[in-house]
């Protein structure tokens, strides 16, 4: 049975408020996932990178906000930009490396080239292909409008009207401080990245990954080990 979840009545049917029960399909329904992607992930502050991973001008890291590929790049002035990793010409991925250092990104499809700030700096055949009418200033990479850091952790958010990162974190910041404030020097990252894929339909599997990463405190015997090793090392002040 096709189950429409984009109306309040259908969603209401999935929750039994009196007995505190929810329908099992809530965990796997693609339609709900799509709504979550749009209504939650595109409006939330999403962790992108640790500042230590981007030490120098041109250092970049490829990551995701929901299903969208994001390039996080250290700028010449020391600030950090998060750019949609999609060429403005045909939408292809402009940077296929996971991380590294680059002062420009050239799309492998038709050669549109962007600087580290996402500005379009060149495209081939400007005269014959675009009649000299391509206004390069209008075709830079789409930037994630909000990028803020909390004690070394860089977050990005697509919603211009979202609260500031610190307000969004709210009391959760206290829990982050337990990790981030142990030493005066803060934290730095350990090189290398664990990347796993879960199987199944992309939409539902992504959500499964999110869920699995959330309740890390359910079993301290396992997760303590995992947090300590996989997250960051403490730096003496």
């Amino acid at each position: 049975m096709s189950f429409r979840t984009n109306d309040a009545e259908s969603l209401e049917q999935m929750v039994d408020w009196e007995r505190g029960l929810i329908a099992g399909r809530i965990f796997a329904d693609d339609d709900i996932y799509k709504q979550e992607a749009e209504k939650l992930f595109l409006r939330s502050w999403i962790f992108l990178a640790h500042e230590d991973q981007l030490r120098n001008y041109g250092d970049f890291l490829s990551t995701f906000i929901g299903a969208d590929r994001i390039l996080v790049v250290r700028q010449r002035d020391g600030s950090i930009k998060a750019l949609l990793n999609a060429c403005r010409h045909r939408g292809t991925i402009i940077c296929r490396a996971d991380l590294g250092n680059a002062k420009s990104f050239a799309c492998s499809f038709h050669g549109w080239t962007y600087d580290a700030a996402g500005n379009l700096i060149s495209a081939p055949n400007l005269e014959s292909g675009y009649h000299d009418q391509l206004d390069k200033s209008q075709w830079g990479l789409v930037a994630v409008p909000r990028v803020e850091s909390y004690k070394g952790l860089i977050f990005g958010c697509f919603a211009p009207d979202a609260p500031s990162l610190i307000d969004y974190l709210g009391e959760m910041a206290w829990y982050l401080d337990c990790m981030l404030d142990r030493r005066e020097g803060g934290t730095e990252t350990i090189g290398g990245v664990h990347k796993m894929r879960t199987r199944g339909k992309l939409e539902t599997s992504r959500r499964a990954v999110c869920r699995r990463q959330l309740p890390r405190n359910y079993d301290p015997r396992l997760s303590r080990n995992c947090m300590g090793r996989s997250w960051s090392k403490q730096v003496a002040g």
Binding site: A97, D98, G100, G191, R212, Q213
Partner: protein
């Protein structure tokens, strides 16, 4: 490594290949304690992670010492994994995977002592589990093999290069090249 295959003693080549076939059989037959016995007490078992890099930074593709690894074990922690396998509380391996470890392209170089060899080999490990899940892992192993007092070969060091960037399987829960990374196992429990 220079290619001097013709200079390898055929008996040694045969001995080491048979050793690897034996190891593969122990794994495919789930005889993990016997498998653990193949390692020296000071053994290191390491599987670095890999990342996609621009061509000009290709030399940084494999994580280095001190960075993240998929496995970074000594004999003690390998022993923990064996214990977990034998405990009937291994969530990823209940029911057990069906595996075939294929070891090929065995290349032997004498190491710094007469009783030690650096051996590179290639592997393909086929894994089938539950109803219809199939994984095929390919890669290279770089071993330091050493003879003990009884002249038996031991694995003193193993570096495994898995030819994947994102690990495409749900877990790495079969031995030799792979075993359940703690946090992977913890994911399985959710």
């Amino acid at each position: 490594m220079s290619i001097k295959a013709t200079k390898v003693n055929p008996e040694l080549q045969l001995e080491i290949e048979q050793y690897y076939y034996h190891e593969a059989e122990l794994l495919d037959d789930h005889r993990y304690e016997e498998w653990l016995d193949l390692f020296s007490t000071d053994a290191r078992y390491w599987m670095p992670t890999r990342t996609n890099r621009a061509l000009r930074e290709h030399d940084k593709e494999v994580s280095v010492e001190g960075e993240f690894a998929l496995f970074d074990d000594d004999k003690k922690t390998l022993g923990w994994r064996v214990k977990q396998m034998e405990s009937f509380a291994h969530w990823a391996e209940n029911p057990r995977s069906r595996t075939r470890h294929l070891i090929t392209n065995v290349r032997i170089t004498p190491a710094n002592s007469e009783k030690a060899y650096e051996v590179k080999s290639n592997f393909i490990c086929y894994r089938n589990r539950l109803q219809d899940e199939v994984d095929i892992w390919a890669g290279e192993r770089i071993d330091l093999l050493r003879r003990d007092e009884e002249q038996e070969l031991q694995i003193a060091r193993r570096k495994v290069l898995l030819d994947q960037n994102v690990v495409l399987s749900k877990n790495l829960s079969v031995f030799s090249e792979f075993e359940g990374e703690e946090h992977v196992v913890s994911y399985k429990r959710c």
